[in-house]
């Protein structure tokens, strides 16, 4: 086979490779919706973040408005400090509340922002004060068990 045949087929091969890489990058990964939009950062303190991870979505009314930038533990109050990057286009009032929710039963955890009624808006560096923590299943179950136990205290065994 002469050189032109090799060149042709290797060209086809490289094109196929580039096409599949483009397919993986554009169709499969988050590049299409992840883009680098301008954001401002606010923080929120939670008693318990459950399984929340960095880069988890922040949603308001179900619409993606930002992503979690980082999570750390406050060394003084021992509460979880979550940094939220919210897109510039979305503004929330100062008394908005943030809660940690779970999408579906098996889904990942995300932060839901409930807008408040204050006139002033959150800006870079502000803190969301109204927060509610993640629902921890174990705590729920143990609460349920204790309340059940309190409802019907050990019934006396009636001797025949």
């Amino acid at each position: 086979m002469n050189r032109r045949v090799y060149d042709f087929w290797v060209g086809v091969f490289v094109m196929l490779g580039l096409a599949s890489l483009a397919f993986l990058a554009l169709r499969v990964s988050n590049v299409s919706n992840g883009g680098s939009k301008a954001t401002y950062r606010v923080t929120a303190a939670f008693d318990n973040i459950g399984g929340l991870k960095a880069r988890a979505p922040i949603k308001s009314a179900g619409v993606l408005v930002g992503r979690v930038a980082g999570i750390s533990l406050d060394p003084v109050t021992y509460r979880a400090m979550v940094a939220l990057d919210i897109e510039q286009g979305y503004h929330f009032s100062r008394d908005s509340s943030a809660e940690i929710l779970t999408s579906g039963i098996l889904g990942d955890q995300y932060i839901g922002v409930e807008p408040g009624a204050d006139e002033t808006m959150l800006k870079n560096g502000d803190r969301i004060t109204l927060t509610s923590s993640a629902v921890v299943l174990e705590k729920l179950i143990s609460q349920f068990m204790f309340s059940k136990a309190a409802e019907n205290p050990a019934q006396p065994t009636t001797a025949p």
Binding site: R3, Y6, D7, W9, V10, V12, F13, V14, L16, G17, S20, L21, F23, L24, A25, R27, V28, S29, N30, V31, S32, N33, G34, P57, G104, I105, L106
Partner: protein, 256 residues
Amino acid sequence: MRTLGEPVVDALEKLGFGFRFLMAVLWHSATALRRFSLVVREIYFTGVLSLLIIMVSGLFVGMVLGLQGYDTLQRFGASEALGVLVALSLLRELGPVVAGLLFASRAGSAITAEIGLMKATEQLAAMEMMAVNPVARVVAPRFWAGVISMPILAALFSAMGILGGYVVGVVLIGVDAGSFWAQMQAQVDLYNDIGNGLVKSVVFGVAVSIIAVFEGFDAPPTAEGVSGATTRTVVTSSLVILVLDFILTAFMFRGV
């Protein structure tokens, strides 16, 4: 003691020679890369001729993932996550690893056999007589062809696998196409998943290529020697791929 020690000494000696050989190949790469038509010809033999097996295997691996994944996920009512499952398992693990194993057995063995046969028929010695360095003329182009082909083949394998998962999951079983792609796009990260998979495939390409050319160059110049070297290429590079995969995964996906 002696029977126990000798294989170890032999193996270490071979490893040392292999390292010296790798350095020699890299040293002579400039000559090979300057005459790129040599590399293009080898990409045809290692890459283009491996296309069929890689693409068909990728398609079927993806289809099996689609079937098995659906079977498991629908028990939890999470069959929409099928896209994520197929994409992540292909991009992170199966794409680079299975493509690497197939590449070792399809292209690696061919390279070893070819170089071994050139050695047995004294073509390499003849080149040296004509003041042509066989490492620069024969070994380096094959090495670089392998290094270039492997990531392309792995990307093709993953892409075909995802299409296979789509065919089984969406077309045959009837998972919602929108959530199949949307969940995939929400969970697959360009750098963490696709990028690291690509890095893996480059590392596997280097490993398989250097093992293949080394075994060919090191083969005893007999029919038996060449066949033994070919077998060793497949066995060694398969093991090396699996070990490297474990090491790379431990580095890359810790805490993701």
